[in-house]
């Protein structure tokens, strides 16, 4: 992970390819179910959110019902849970393939980097496969030569989860 999270170029700014390398490495950790390592990518005050699809994509989880609205504590608990055999929804683990594309740096200022990309994640559980797709919005933070995730918001392009049923994997 050091290769991906360590900043090579000018301190405080990222190039698109550095962001892409970071996102590809994140995808690999998820697909290999190395979730504790994945969790280490997040800052202590990080959030991970998936809003439902019938409200604006920038709605707040404080006054809207989301699918997922984790702070760093609950995200850690989510990872702990998913690594247990008693997380029945993901035991045996699904096979997943996280695709990331159309990566853009929206802004960067003083080590705070806003990134948007498209995503396509395939999941196979038992004999069934399904697809999640949409946009990812990242707030990244660069400090001490490392990239960390401060916020990750998953904006689904489906109407609800009629085909996927549930979001028991990490998107």
């Amino acid at each position: 992970m050091n290769v991906a999270t360590e900043k090579g170029s000018d301190a405080g700014t990222l190039t698109r390819s550095e962001v892409e390398d970071f996102l590809y490495a994140e995808a690999e950790l998820l697909d290999e179910w190395r979730l504790p390592e994945w969790l280490d990518l997040f800052t202590d005050d990080a959030t991970y959110q998936i809003p439902p699809t019938d409200i604006p994509a920038d709605a707040s989880p404080d006054n809207n019902l989301f699918y997922i609205a984790d702070d760093r504590y609950r995200l850690g608990e989510r990872v702990k849970r998913l690594m247990k055999r008693t997380a029945h929804a993901e035991y045996p683990h699904s096979k997943t393939r996280h695709q990331v594309s159309n990566v853009r740096i929206l802004s960067q200022d003083d080590g705070q980097v806003e990134v948007a990309c498209n995503f396509l994640t395939y999941r196979t559980k038992d004999d069934f496969s399904n697809i999640f797709f949409g946009k990812l919005l990242y707030g990244l933070e660069v400090s001490d030569g490392k990239i960390r995730i401060r916020s990750k918001r998953v904006v689904l392009d489906t109407n609800g989860l009629r085909n996927q049923g549930r979001i028991s994997i990490i998107l």
């Binding site: 998936i50 019938d54 989301f66 989510r78 849970r81 247990k84 008693t86 989860l161 549930r166």
Partner: protein
């Protein structure tokens, strides 16, 4: 060998305290067709909550009991439910999920309807007979029955159905306890969880009022609560399960988790405690101590037959679901809370909801896994034919982890499918 056509749907043996449900009920296309005819075409079905239509002109489109429905509020504030089909050629008139509109235009030939569904105008009007617009068949059709209780709107496709309040029967009192949490009225909170399960809809009925599966299915959720500082109080999980009649059932019980309705946990801090104390004091003044305590400290998983679940637990959810086929169901779930709730309390309510409930929670996905694996297990139902729902049978007061509330559902389901004169397999 196919299951014997003479097998009963439900087999009850009161002497041996056995209650068996045929697994065929979860897979048979004929049962699915009969359910549409005898349950989803005759029972009161939940449509939506009045708070979803705040302003005149607000509308929501929804599929209820297999029909496409336009739920809206007109200029005068009347709430209506129209079949969302053009009287001309049948196209869905409104193709948006929600919004606000003075009128609805079918895009196919351009017919325009008022908020009450009446035809206002259509291109080439002069080519129609002079009284065409006065013919009720020229209007969008209203659903035969639409009635509400405590802001919950139900529709019924059977014009002869008994009034909603009579249908709700003993469940009304539980709805009152739940909705008396608020003095200004409850509201549905923005954001709908729309998901699905590859399982028969009756599996979700059972699961939503099942107090027996928590420790094994939800082991990781219980681990989470235990590990969280201040997430639990010292209250045992204990209570009762009841048949409320008409197919409705409930479990009512105490539990260690925090309840925004009145059970404080230390995680919510001193400010949270002040707020919860004030809420409980207000309720005691309004309703007396006994009812105020029930509102605050008792959890309720309430089934309104056939497919409405109102769970007043660590949060409040309204959940309804419909079969798409014998082995696929669609769920819509909402969070609800008092309109007068503070921003902080609303945040706790929603946080509690997401920890447990919904397709991204720490518990519901494991329920989905369980129900889908039941459905897969029913591949064997020609040989392994019966589900067992006997737990707590014959007890004077079955407990919350018994199955009396599910038997309530199955008795009514069976009565409606086979008719009152021939409840099959009832042996005493």
């Amino acid at each position: 060998m196919k299951p014997n056509g003479n097998d009963p749907l439900v087999m009850i043996d009161n002497d041996r305290h056995l209650f068996k449900v045929s697994r065929n009920n979860f897979t048979d296309p004929d049962v699915f067709v009969k359910e549409r005819e005898r349950i989803f075409s005759t029972c009161w079905l939940y449509l939506g909550h009045e708070s979803e239509l705040k302003k005149p002109g607000d509308f929501v489109t929804r599929v209820v009991g297999g029909r496409s429905i336009l739920f809206n509020k007109d200029r005068q504030g009347n709430i209506r439910a129209l079949f969302n089909s053009c009287p001309h050629r049948g196209s869905q008139v409104c193709r948006e999920r929600k919004g606000n509109a003075k009128s609805f235009q079918c895009f196919y030939h351009g017919w325009v309807f008022g908020q009450d569904g009446a035809l206002r105008n259509q291109p080439g009007e002069e080519s129609y007979g002079h009284d065409f617009k006065n013919d009720p068949d020229s209007n969008m059709r209203q659903v035969p029955r639409l009635e509400s209780y405590r802001g919950l709107y139900f529709l019924c496709y059977d014009p002869e159905a008994i009034p909603l309040v009579d249908y709700l029967g003993n469940a009304k009192e539980y709805l009152d306890v739940i909705f008396d949490q608020s003095v200004d009225g409850m509201e549905v909170i923005g954001g709908t969880q729309e998901y699905a399960m590859n399982a028969n809809w009756k599996l979700l009925v059972e699961n939503s009022i099942d107090g027996y599966h928590a420790t094994s299915t939800h082991a990781t959720y219980l681990d989470y609560l235990k590990s969280m500082e201040g997430g639990l109080t010292n209250v045992a999980l204990s209570g009762v399960g009841k048949d409320l009649g008409n197919g409705h059932g409930v479990i009512e019980y105490s539990a260690p988790w925090g309840r925004p309705a009145g059970q404080w946990v230390s995680l919510w801090g001193d400010e949270g405690k002040k707020e919860i104390d004030a809420l409980n004091a207000r309720n005691e003044k309004l309703y007396g101590k006994e009812k105020a305590d029930r509102i605050a400290y008792k959890n309720r998983n309430l089934l309104i037959f056939p497919n409405l679940i109102i769970n007043d637990i660590m949060s409040l959810t309204i959940r309804t679901f419909f079969p798409q086929s014998p082995n696929l169901l669609h769920v819509n779930a909402w969070a609800a809370g008092p309109q007068e709730e503070s921003a902080a309390a609303r945040k706790f309510r929603l946080s509690n909801f997401l920890e447990f409930l919904g397709p991204g929670g720490f518990a519901t996905p494991d329920d989905v896994e369980a129900l889908e694996h039941c459905q897969l297990g029913y591949r064997n139902s020609q040989e392994v034919r019966w589900n067992d729902i006997s737990k707590g049978m014959g007890l004077e007061q079955p407990a919350m982890d018994d199955e009396e509330q599910m038997r309530a559902f199955w008795r009514e389901w069976s009565r409606r499918l086979t008719g009152p004169e021939q409840i099959q397999g009832e042996r005493t």
